[in-house]
Amino acid sequence: MRLRLVPEKTSVPFMRGRSVAVVLSVLLIIGSAAYTYVHGLNFGIDFRGGVTIEIETQQPADVEAIRSAISSLGLGDVAAQEFGNPNDVLIRVEQQAEGTQDAAIAAVVETLNALYGNSYTIRRTEAVGPVVSGELVEKGITAVLLAVGAIMIYIWFRFEWQFGLGAVVSLVHDIALTIGFFSFTGLEFNLSIVAAILTIIGYSLNDTVVVFDRIRENLRKYRKPTMLEIIDQSLNETLARTLMTSVTTLLALLALLFLGGEVIRGFTAAMIWGVVIGTYSSIFVASPVLNALNVSREAFIPDEVKSKAP
């Protein structure tokens, strides 16, 4: 007996719910933007600059004592938090003036030596100056924008411009909701999250392209049904694959989330979120946009059929 995620033949009227989906998506995008605007993002050292030191103590560490000892150094804002387990502490010091990062590290290490002597180890140290953090922000934004642009052009070439636009609208939806997710959860937003966003773009697009391919194929095959019917049929035909791939990807990602360690937890969380909303957006964002854009069906009639027409 085979495991079936969906029945052999489905005919879910996805597009009947498109108005609800569009309203929901718009609300989610506005909500994400508003929440992020108000609460901001918990930027990691890559974008915020400053000093991060992770230490491991032999006994459960007194986070508050560490924080107040380092705060008294006059280096500005200091945060100390448990990182993964009680013996592991992550210390973050705010952005220092250009070229003074070394001195800040030295001062923090000296304070830790006074507190713990030899009974702790430094697991990692990171220091990023203002110039570099500015560049990393710039590069991250450029990479995401270029990726979206390049993908739109590629899809426009392979399909029609309406498909390209539909794909990009769903990508913008995915990116907005991912940023909103980070603002809402307060998870650290760093360079590897930009990598996660680019991967989400790739994954969501993967899904969208599979659906679009089927829509194109059905547009060629059937002349009678309306665009909405074609979209619904295509979504149903690809539903089994969409869910299968989401499940296998989620299986791998969940393993990584629970077993992969603290450092990449944020990255994995972003990816899991991205797989879920990427799957949603291919069905409920890209397809309705495509429907609204009046795809010319002429473009998909094979040439030999055209020439036979009276």
Binding site: R2, L3, E8, K9, E98, Q101, D102, I105, R124, T125, E126, A127, V128, G129, V132, L136, G140, T142, L146, A147, I151, Y154, I155, L191, S192, A195, L198, T199, G202, Y203, L205, N206, V209, V210, D213, R214, E217, E237, T238, A240, R241, M244, T245, V247, T248, L250, L251, A252, L253, L254, A255, L256, F258, L259, G260, G261, V263, I264, F267, M271
Partner: protein, 538 residues
């Protein structure tokens, strides 16, 4: 689609076997790896600093420091050009108000009618920058002489850039010598852009030591002490021209006036070493033969007078010259510890940096943490893999087993490509591999779902499989190509760990497409050919 001639079978099998050979070194113990015959590849996957532990430093040459030095040399050369300038009657050309500001030198001619002569002199002083066999280069400075005789000469951007890249090149050399002295294995020191240097030190234990070694300029000079300046003059900053006031290294409030011109500098050193004598740490230095002669000469002329040993603008000590020092050897004694004496000796041996370097970015990961990340990644990868493998069998039965086989081939090929290309695996890269495991089956899922549809409309097994592949092909291509675009952009714009992730993702896309459409298809084709099933269930 299902036509697999012998050569194609041989090719696909060959690639998989080659993959096995290249992936092999990663899974056998190190001792066994060393005993592999020479013709087998022995490279393992190159672990990034975040996985093997180590330090990454982004250093930037202090542009203001470089420019200040360059403008000083520039104004010297203009001064000497003007000093040598003669009118047709053999007279000197008078000028006043010689000064420098930013990248500009300006002065005013006493006699504005000498403009043409000065123009000629300055034109002759221009040296081209970036000249090569195909280009004449650009001038290193431009100048302008106004009607009333005001001369302004400005260094061009090209000349400043050329000087900067020269400084970067020299700095890299000096840092390499210093790092080599530290004994770090496989350091990587590279220029980046026009004023940056990236230093990567795998397995370094003490980032403080490394930081001190990059950022200390270590410019050692010997100066005569200016005895004419009284302590009151020094306190008030009233010192004779040609002298300057410097603080002591161990007691910054104590200051001394020295002659600006150095008797001798650290680039004339032959060797330097730390030693312990008379209950304190000292650094022994010896000059090369030219330096030794100069040193002997000045010390002979200045017996009884004090001189100052200056390191990076701070006076280490100011002893008296009791007798001429003829052997070319000297001792530097200050308030050294064993470590600081050893470090100074190292820096002096490696030479001074041509300009100050600033640490812009620094990342150090301890070796334990890297090992934990690798272990966690391995476990997550294996569990994820088992989950996907079992799930595929549950859903697709026999076809699932075949897809699982392709998945394993994919992992082997991915490891082989990473080892063969010596791509760097980073922590996000491990996430990339685990993700690839989840996404790699996608191409097979697309094909299998397609085959199901074809069977449903009544096609025979061979036709159904054939049509399944044919119809899924363009989708597979489009879907993977778009992800590849994202990976390439990540590589282009990402830094460090993100680049590592992009590489893994890109290689993973290529190997997964190959294993899904070649390996699975071949196994299916061979099975269909042999078993000739009347009906198949996917």
């Amino acid at each position: 689609m299902l036509d697999f001639p012998r050569w194609k079978i041989a090719l696909v099998t060959g690639i998989c076997l080659l993959g096995l050979v290249f992936a092999l070194p990663n899974v056998i113990p190190g001792a066994m790896r060393a005993n592999l015959p020479g013709w087998l590849p022995q490279n393992t996957i190159n672990l990034g600093l975040d996985l093997q532990g180590g330090s990454y430093f982004l250093l930037e040459v202090d542009a203001a420091d470089v420019l200040a030095e360059q403008i000083e040399g520039f104004s010297d050369s203009l001064l000497s050009a003007m000093r040598d300038a003669r009118t047709s009657k053999g007279r000197r050309v008078g000028y006043a108000g010689f000064r420098t500001s930013g990248q500009t030198v300006s002065f005013t001619l006493r006699d504005p009618t000498k403009r043409d002569l000065v123009r000629k002199v300055l034109n002759a002083a221009i040296t081209p920058v970036g000249a090569g066999p195909l280009s004449p280069g650009t001038p290193d400075f431009t100048f302008d002489i106004s009607e009333d005789g005001k001369v302004t000469a400005t260094l061009t951007e090209d000349s400043i850039a050329a000087r900067k890249s020269q400084v970067v090149g020299q700095s890299i050399e000096v840092i390499r010598r210093r790092v080599d002295e530290l004994g770090t294995r496989e350091p990587s020191i590279q220029g980046q852009g026009d004023s940056r240097i990236v230093v990567q030190l795998p397995g370094l234990q003490d980032p403080d030591e490394a930081r001190a070694i990059f950022t200390q300029t270590a410019r050692l000079t010997f100066h005569l002490v200016d005895g004419s300046a009284s302590p009151e003059d020094i306190a008030r900053g009233r010192i004779p021209p040609g002298s300057e006031v410097l603080p002591f290294e161990d007691e910054p409030s104590r200051k001394i006036a020295i002659r600006r011109r150095a008797m001798i500098t650290g680039d004339q050193l032959n060797s330097a070493s730390a030693s312990f004598s008379e209950n304190r740490w000292i650094v022994n230095i010896s000059f090369n033969s030219a330096g030794g002669r100069v040193f002997a000469d000045v010390t002979r002329k200045n017996v009884g007078r004090p001189f100052a040993i200056v390191l990076d603008g701070k006076v280490i000590s100011a002893p008296n010259i009791n007798e001429p020092i003829l052997g070319g050897a000297a001792q530097i004694s200050g308030s050294f510890t064993a470590e600081s004496a050893a470090r100074l000796a190292l820096l002096l041996r490696a030479g001074a940096l041509p300009a100050d370097l600033v640490v812009k970015e620094e990342r150090t990961v301890g070796p334990d943490m890297g090992a934990e990340s690798v272990a966690a990644g391995k476990i997550a990868g294996i569990i994820g893999l088992v989950g996907v493998v079992v799930f595929m069998v549950l859903v697709y039965g026999r076809f699932g087993i075949i897809a699982d086989f392709a998945l394993l081939a994919n992992i082997v090929l991915l490891m082989a490509a990473m080892s063969g290309l010596q791509a760097t695996l980073t922590l996000p890269g491990i996430a990339g591999i685990v993700l690839t495991v989840g996404m790699a089956v996608d191409a097979n899922v697309l094909v299998f779902e397609r085959i199901r549809e074809e069977i449903r409309i009544g096609r025979k097994p061979v036709q159904a499989v054939d049509a399944g592949y044919r119809n899924a092909m363009s989708t597979i291509f489009d879907a993977n190509f778009t992800t590849l675009i994202a990976a390439l952009l990540m590589f282009q714009f990402g830094s460090g760990p993100v680049k590592g992730f992009a590489v893994t993702l890109a290689i993973g896309i290529l190997t997964s497409v190959f294993s899904a459409i070649m390996v699975t298809r071949m196994i299916l084709a061979l099975w269909l050919r042999r078993a000739r099933p009347q009906a198949i269930t996917v």
